[in-house]
Symmetry: C2
Subunit: 323 residues, 2 copies
């Protein structure tokens, strides 16, 4: 089967999104390396515009739309980071963005989406279908749907994170990204395997949203009921377009518990002094808790976002120990 994107699509995306997406820094930590037993290169997408990697994909799709389409606006459904990214990219080209968000999305993500000019329509996660709502808006307005992951332009855009990572870090044994719908992972795997054919690509996925893990085992797309603190990775099923690439290019998806994610968020915060949201730390958690092959000496880790409410963060206190 033909894969949805090729490495050339990621390179084209890198050119297209240059005016909008930041080239985020690569960060090292001797303390993390010591715990992980490997040399780790963190690609800090928490410092990305909008606070997450999502601007890469959204900008790639939206900046490729013709003026007539932009005039009709764009629509997206998202629990948060994709929403902000669509609002930013649409605002950049003067298009109206309508965002369908669950009523219980983190407040900070809603506020930022609004601040960037996005029009928010909320829905009840339990009783309503965001796809149906987005579909209706799309029919009413003829706006272009900007899907969160299952679209070649989105996948190619997300891959630019790995393009920059490998360009700066040089040859690596492995690269790992968080896995939600697989947009980031498939895009990064596509370009990483071209740049360094011997590189090993992994995903980090919460145990409570292990759809990609199970799907790889089954050899077909399996649906789950997500239950994890990593709100950005609460995707029930891998994408139609992303999954074949993950199957072909990704060695394995490593599962991490919510406690491991919390501990990783704390480590990155207290030791590296950077704020990473739970979803953004799933890959790092897999490395910190030794879920990857031991022989890996150098690992690129995409920290995919840093958007979190203060109140949520305060709940990630370490388990009480005797003093």
């Amino acid at each position: 089967m033909e894969l949805a994107i090729q490495p050339s699509d990621v390179r084209a995306a890198a050119e297209r999104i240059r005016p909008l997406a930041r080239r985020t820094p690569l960060v090292r930590s001797a303390g993390f390396d010591a715990e992980a037993g490997a040399r780790v290169f963190f690609k800090c997408e928490n410092f990305q515009k909008g606070g997450a990697f999502k601007i890469r994909g959204a900008a790639n799709l939206i900046l490729s739309l013709p003026p007539a389409a932009l005039a009709r606006g764009v629509v997206a459904y998202s629990s948060g980071n994709h929403a902000q990214a669509v609002a930013i990219a649409a605002g950049h080209v003067g298009a109206q963005a309508t965002i369908v968000m669950p009523r219980d999305a983190p407040r900070s993500k809603m506020e930022s989406t609004r601040a960037y000019g996005g029009l928010i329509i909320t829905y009840d996660r339990a009783t309503e279908s965001r796809e149906a709502i987005a579909d209706r808006i799309q029919k009413d307005t003829a706006a272009t749907l900007v899907p969160p992951f299952d679209h070649p332009m989105i996948m190619a855009g997300q891959g630019t994170a790995a393009l920059e990572l490998l360009d700066e870090a040089g040859p690596l044994d492995a690269v790992i990204t968080p896995v939600g719908g697989g947009g980031l992972l498939s895009g990064c795997a596509t370009i990483a395997k071209e740049l360094e054919p011997a590189i090993r690509v992994f995903g980090g996925e919460p145990e409570g949203a292990n759809d990609t893990f199970l799907s790889l085992m089954a050899g077909e797309r399996i649906a789950v009921q997500p239950n994890t603190i990593a709100d950005g990775l609460r995707v029930p099923k891998p994408g139609v377009l992303t999954f074949p690439i993950v199957q072909r290019l990704v060695e394995r998806v490593a599962l991490v518990t919510d406690d491991e994610i919390r501990a990783t968020v704390r480590f990155l915060l207290l030791r590296l002094k950077i704020l990473v949201e739970p979803s953004g730390a799933a890959g790092a958690a897999a490395v910190l808790f030794h879920k990857l092959p031991r022989e890996l000496r150098t690992i690129g880790v995409v920290l995919s976002g840093g958007n979190i409410d203060f109140e949520d963060l305060t709940r990630y206190a370490p388990p009480v120990t005797q003093t």
Copy 2:
């Protein structure tokens, strides 16, 4: 009166500490600039080795000691960041560091100091004098005292933060640092005024530890009883050596409240995704809350450290607002 350090001392320090101190990144934030009404360049000493600028001064002094002195070890008293810095610098040259710390110092700072090989001796802040304890250790062991701020080598070392800041940011209207004992401020003012004679230098000081503010008003060193969340700035009185430089080169000390410091810590955390401790945010708070002259267009801000316990951080939740 002759000032304790000259710009050439800061340049010499930069050479001396190169093997040990990091050249920390300069960070920008469109969101902070919009709130502050100025273009702000953050010198991120929270990413410094040991999590604070203190390694600059400690390394400058310790790396200048002759082998015979190093063999007798070093001793320091500190509520935290200076302690870690002395432990790191001493460890680097194989010297024993003994650190006198208050019993209620942040746990993370104690643990790090120990992890770096420092021997900790605790005292009761209310009933004992840390100077007296350090003095006794010094007499018993003939160790070299590494004072937290009031020493030319310490002041010159801290000034290297501004040297790097101005080197990278280019000409600025102003620079501001937090003020505790004045080591960082006096060192930074010394080099900044040489590099750019027209630059205006400010300090950011908590209202609850306003000794330097009051001293500048009085024209002499005034003592206060510090009471602020900014534990690193709880210094009762400006230094004998630092104060004349502050008097000569610093335009004004801006006072900030603990609430303003908390809000700034949250802003830096949630918007810039970086962890800065309360003491480290005093300069940024003065800028964010418009305590500096309105006409300043470009401001260099030293974020002096990022060491904070998770439990302390969770206490900095924003005031409850209606939703």
